[in-house]
């Protein structure tokens, strides 16, 4: 991580706070109109998808219905649910958009998400051992974790995690790795498991039991479409999230270097540990503006549609303190994620030899 003096860290904090204050002072009708427009679009797509689905025995209708429902779930999870739960719209005082009471359309309970994501991940971002989102306790993504032969198969694990992403996120708070290590007992996790079963059951009931049974003669079609919609959302959400912190140049941190850190240091860590990707307007909307992961990590509770507007200012601040601003095309960023997953599945000796050869080739060119 870029080393900054105490004074520079204070300056960094003041500069970023100024950007934040400017947005806060300007919050109003425009933001309310934006999120309501997205919510209307979500409702339209979900109702449309559900209504079309029973006619899915006609192949083009099946594609349209599945895509419609899948995109609805993506919008609800990423641009609405995730952002509302960060408190981005609490200032509106609208009970339907309250961070503490909103419940989203995925297996993970909002309660659990606010704990593991809003608190743990956003506070301890990329601190190995404290940010359990770094590799989700399933993947080895840096040499901070000791290699063992099981890691050779981690690409398979990655595919499984992506395909079943909502269930992976749902059980994240179980901290199964700590149970395996004997640091926690199953009994400690009973309240969590109860909530998980209730919400997971509710989600499975809706998509895999209720709606198929409602249209019994075409139940298999509806079931297949609903599975497809969940799959679309799982793969997309997982991909976007992996691009946020596991790209080539996104840094990791140790607990020691973050002990008793100042707000300025926290800002620096958020800037260095996150990565953006570029794209068109709808790519950003469908990613819940997590394509502006850097801005999101610096200002998690500002309405996300504001990130594109403040991005230039954040980049200016980065330039001023010579902090790298990590961005690139979606394809390039995702490519480096896949490469990271593959490289760290190998023993360190093999990996370093490969990396040296790679950079040697580059030099030769």
């Amino acid at each position: 991580m870029k080393k900054l003096s105490e004074e520079q860290l204070n300056g960094l904090q003041q500069d970023l706070d100024a950007i934040r204050d400017e947005v806060l002072a300007d919050l109003g009708e425009r933001d309310a109109t934006y999120i309501r427009k997205i919510i209307r679009l979500h409702r339209t797509l979900e109702v449309g998808g559900r209504v079309m689905m029973p006619f899915g025995f006609i192949p083009p209708v099946f594609v349209a219905a599945t895509a419609s429902l899948g995109i609805a779930k993506i919008l609800e999870n990423m641009e609405i649910g995730h952002n509302v739960m960060h408190g981005q719209y609490d200032w509106m005082n609208d009970p339907a958009l309250n961070s503490q009471t909103y419940e989203w359309d995925t297996v993970c309970t909002s309660e659990s998400w606010r704990q593991t994501h809003n608190y743990e991940h956003h506070t301890y971002t990329n601190i190995i051992g404290k940010d359990r989102d770094y590799g989700y306790a399933v993947l080895r993504l840096s040499d901070d974790v000791k290699w063992h032969p099981g890691h050779l198969l981690q690409f398979v694990n990655y595919i499984l995690l992506t395909v079943l992403f909502q269930w992976g996120v749902g059980v994240h708070e179980l901290e199964s790795e700590k149970i395996r290590r004997g640091e926690l007992r199953w009994r400690d996790k009973l309240p969590f498991l109860k909530d998980f079963a209730r919400k997971g059951g509710r989600q499975a009931f809706k998509d895999y039991v209720f709606f198929p049974l409602l249209t019994l003669p075409v139940a298999p079609v509806v079931l297949a479409g609903n599975v497809g919609a969940n799959l679309i959302r799982n793969i997309w959400a997982s991909t976007v999230i992996f691009c946020g912190h596991f790209t080539q140049d996104a840094e990791t941190f140790t607990e020691e270097e973050c002990e008793g850190e100042s707000k300025g240091h926290w800002y620096l860590r958020q800037l260095s540990g996150s990565s953006n990707f570029t794209g068109g307007k709808w790519l950003h909307v469908l990613s819940g503006h997590l394509s502006y992961q850097v801005e999101h990590h610096v200002f998690p509770d500002l309405p996300a549609h504001r990130y594109p507007e403040i991005s230039a200012k954040v980049q200016e601040v980065c330039k001023k303190y010579d902090i790298p601003y990590n961005t690139g095309s979606f394809a390039k960023q995702y490519g480096t994620v896949l490469s990271r997953i593959a490289r760290f599945s190998l023993p360190d000796a093999v990996r370093t030899r490969l990396e040296q050869r790679g950079s040697g080739q580059l030099q030769a060119i």
Binding site: G28, R30, W91, Q100
Partner: protein, 368 residues
């Protein structure tokens, strides 16, 4: 009835499973409301049918609530909500029409005075137009016509007349069988709210003794005095209803007590934010734990629970922020709080408190 109830209960349960919210009926609101705002389910939508000027700074808004609204009793008030610059605002106003108008024509009226610097009252006066929609909650309040009938004395000041208008109209329509006196204090003759209505009621209902007193027309201000009360027949048997500025309410309470009226005979309702009671700051403050959020913070002095929660980064739901609308009501699981408005000290146990007017006295646990 029972079949319908179980049916709605079952539907509600199903809705919760499918839509992940406790008010599944409101899930479609963003879409339904865009097509027709009267279809919104989260609150009862009410369309502004007509806006009439009462005085230079007071207007009466005639509203037509969606027919599912549960109605009200004369003298009650209601929370209305509206969005101003993207922020939901909730305020409480007295209903100034009689319940009969609601039953017969499906209409209600709110008579609202512009408060200097008031965000919502000024918006209602300047920006709300006929055809617009306001959100309505259920009516509430204990400022009710006595049942069975007893002699009544109303003492109203300024826009404090609004619940009394509703009551008088109701009493006149039912030929209320006991004497009724209204002492209505206004600054000048131009400030009389509901003048035509009052005169019409007095003309057709002989049981009403109407006495409108202008306080600021002579050289000296002319406030409520003991002579006003002395002139009232059988004062000691009357139920007294007070609504107006704090000065008038305090004065009336004192004079009525001197005349021997018991506290149980006196009814009052706030029509404007009452002035905070004097509290002994030394005893206030304490450790507040917001149990659901696992946040513990210390507080000092007369900071209320809403301010304390917000300072700790929490964002509980709120409305008027002055102890009227109950939007911020939460469960207190233990500890003692002092009500900022009344100075009343709570019990130590579990109860519902309004965050915006509750000041901790010692350690308090809140389910937020």
């Amino acid at each position: 009835m029972l079949a319908r109830l179980t049916q709605t209960k079952a539907l509600h349960w199903l809705g919760r499973q499918l839509l992940n919210r406790d008010d599944p009926a409101a899930w479609l609101d963003p879409l339904a409301g865009a097509i027709n705002p009267m279809w919104v389910q989260e609150y009862t939508p009410a369309r502004v049918e007509r806006i009439m000027a009462e005085t230079a700074d007071t207007k009466t808004f005639v509203l037509k609530p969606a027919s599912r609204w549960t109605g009200f009793d004369a003298g009650q008030h209601v929370n209305i909500c509206t969005e101003i610059d993207g922020i939901r605002r909730t305020r409480t106003f007295s209903l100034s029409s009689s319940p009969e108008l609601w039953h017969k024509q499906g209409l209600i009226t709110l008579t609202i005075k512009r408060l200097p610097g008031g965000l919502v009252t000024n918006w209602l006066h300047d920006s709300l137009s006929e055809g617009d929609i306001l959100g309505l909650a259920d009516a509430f309040g204990e400022f009710l016509v006595p049942q069975p009938a007893k002699p009544v004395l109303f003492i109203a000041g300024g826009s404090g007349i609004t619940p009394v208008l509703s009551q008088l109209e109701t009493m006149a329509a039912s030929h209320y069988p006991a004497p009724v006196t209204l002492l209505y204090f206004v600054r000048t003759g131009n400030d009389i709210i509901g003048r035509e209505k009052l005169e019409a009621i007095a003309a057709r209902y002989p049981g009403l003794n109407l006495n409108i007193i202008a306080t600021h027309e002579g050289k000296e201000p002319r406030f409520l005095c003991d002579a006003d009360l002395e002139a009232i027949d059988g004062l000691k048997e009357r139920e007294a209803y007070l609504c107006g500025p704090k000065g008038l309410m305090d004065l009336a309470t004192e004079l009525l007590q001197q005349r021997g009226l018991a506290e149980s005979q006196m009814h009052s309702t706030f029509f404007a934010p009452p002035a905070p009671a004097a509290l002994d700051n030394d005893q206030l403050g304490g450790e507040v734990s917001f149990t659901r959020s696992s946040v513990n913070v210390g507080s000092e002095g007369d900071a209320n629970l809403l301010e304390i929660a917000e300072a700790a980064g929490l964002k509980p739901r709120y409305g008027c922020r002055m102890g009227i609308c109950h939007q911020c009501s939460c469960r207190k699981t233990s500890g003692t709080v002092v009500n900022r408005l009344t100075g009343k000290v709570s019990g130590p146990g579990e109860e519902s408190v309004q965050l915006c007017v509750s000041v901790p006295r010692g350690p308090v646990q809140i389910d937020v």
